[in-house]
Amino acid sequence: MTTRIAVLALQGAFAEHVATLRAIGAEPVEVRLPRDLDGVEGLIIPGGESTTMRRLITRWDLAQPILELASSGAPIYGTCAGMIVLSREIVGGEVPVLPLLDVAVERNAFGRQLDSFETELDVPVLGDTPVHAVFIRAPVISGVGPGVDVMATLPDGRIVAVRQRNIIATSFHPELAGETRFHRLLATMAAEHADPGEGVGRRQYPTRRSQHGR
């Protein structure tokens, strides 16, 4: 069975994520309303304008069902604006809508469009081949809480990719560069969430956090 992964389709580069998910054999589902989240095993929040996306998430009551999806253990991946939307603190005081990552995020951290750039980035958990990373008016993580793993930093030490349990976020856009490893990581996590596996020798207790009453 293919893994159904939702892509928040309120605004932004959601079509590129949909295409990337198809390319790796997952089944993408565009989400504009809460009911579109039924039966999905993971979620991508794409790049776009975070101010627009935050307003639309609130307007269409998507925050609560996304928070519930996250607390069930389903993986969520945010790129660029998606990273901003998932952060607990937005530097400058904007109100967070999906405070799932215990990080502080700084919007437009590199400057304006003229400072947008591409680079080769080491992401050790993805192996030795660097990620070709496209940064567009990109945010950076300016502070992390104790439960957050830093997946990648720029040579100057600025944090541009993080993971906290089932939540992943990158400042850059794998979906613009033919890079599929983040999506495959997400799909693997989503498949494990959908079917934790009850094979021979496996200890028989539930692995879904929702079944622990959380």
Binding site: G12, E49, T51, L56, S116, R137
Partner: protein, 294 residues
């Protein structure tokens, strides 16, 4: 190795704007209203197109202090217009640090033969087009985003619909051609063969394509989105309506939920009067903006 202002970042910003509404604003106050309503970017200009049309005379790039005021007022991308072929206005806008330049037919053209060489700039450009040939000529000059022109400042969607349908029908026609027919198609379109071949293979333009010129209601926005636009520019339609903040917000909602008629009905309620429109036949040929550019 790090490269700034690459083709991927120029084209990529337009990809991030998809599914969104870019609003014309003339003051910092307008820009804040637009941002609060959910605009993905604002277009800074001295007068909205309907006022340019009413005033006549030569329309130019805005005063840099107005543009800087708008850049300081909002956190979303700020675009600004330069006259067709006026590469010095473009140099000034780049020096100000705007996020995108619109080489726009809404302003009075500065050059009757040549558009700006947009490859020479680090800032990305969006250009108007009426058909695939024009779109590909602009892209070959370096445009990282295109928009159909419509007929700006009229509040009349008819020209925008005609041009968008023309572009999409031509893309479908190219997709059905044999390789040897594409050479002639390129000649007839007046567009580079390599780009024509790419369009035929991919079934879409090589850059993001928005619709502009005539959108003045949520239904207008949803109409062009259903036809295949990737996002919309709204000029006079917002700040010439009775209640700009509500109209702006409603057009944003309609651009997201463009296929959901129930939501479209909901967001269209009680918006007050949209801008007053003009029938295309009432505009003399020499005052048509869509025919500027070649």
């Amino acid at each position: 190795m790090t490269d700034t202002s690459t083709w991927a970042t120029k084209k990529g910003l337009a990809q991030m704007l998809k599914g969104g509404v870019i609003m014309d604003v003339v003051t910092a106050e307008h820009a804040r209203i637009a941002e609060d309503a959910g605009a993905v970017a604002v277009m800074a200009l001295e007068r909205v197109p309907s006022d340019i049309r009413a005033a006549g005379g030569v329309a130019r790039m805005s005063d840099p202090s107005v543009i800087e005021g708008i850049m300081g007022a909002v956190s979303i991308p700020v675009m600004a217009k330069a006259r067709i072929g006026h590469f010095v206005e473009a140099q000034i806008l780049e020096a100000l640090g705007v996020d995108y330049i619109d080489e726009s037919e809404v302003l009075t053209p500065a050059d009757e033969r040549n558009h700006i060489d947009k490859h020479a700039f680090k800032v990305p450009f969006v250009c108007g087009c009426r058909n695939v040939g024009e779109a590909l000529r602009r892209i070959s000059e370096g445009a990282a985003m295109v928009r159909t022109k419509g007929e700006a400042g009229t509040g009349n969607i008819v020209e925008a619909v005609r041009q968008l349908r023309d572009v999409l029908a031509e893309i479908r026609r190219l997709g059905g051609m044999r390789e040897d027919e594409l050479f002639v198609a390129a000649k007839e379109l007046g567009a580079p063969y390599e780009l024509v071949k790419q369009v035929a293979a991919e079934g879409r333009l090589p850059v993001v394509n928005f619709v502009a010129g005539g959108i003045s209601t949520p239904a207008d926005a949803a109409l062009v989105m259903q036809l295949g636009a990737e996002g919309v520019f709204v000029g006079s339609g917002i700040f010439k309506s009775e209640d700009p903040a509500r109209m702006a917000n409603a057009i944003v909602q309609a651009t997201t939920h463009f296929t959901d008629a129930k939501i479209l009905a909901e967001v269209s309620k009680g918006l007050g009067a949209p801008m007053r429109g003009i029938a295309l036949e009432a505009i003399p040929d020499q005052e048509r903006m869509a025919v500027r550019g070649w």
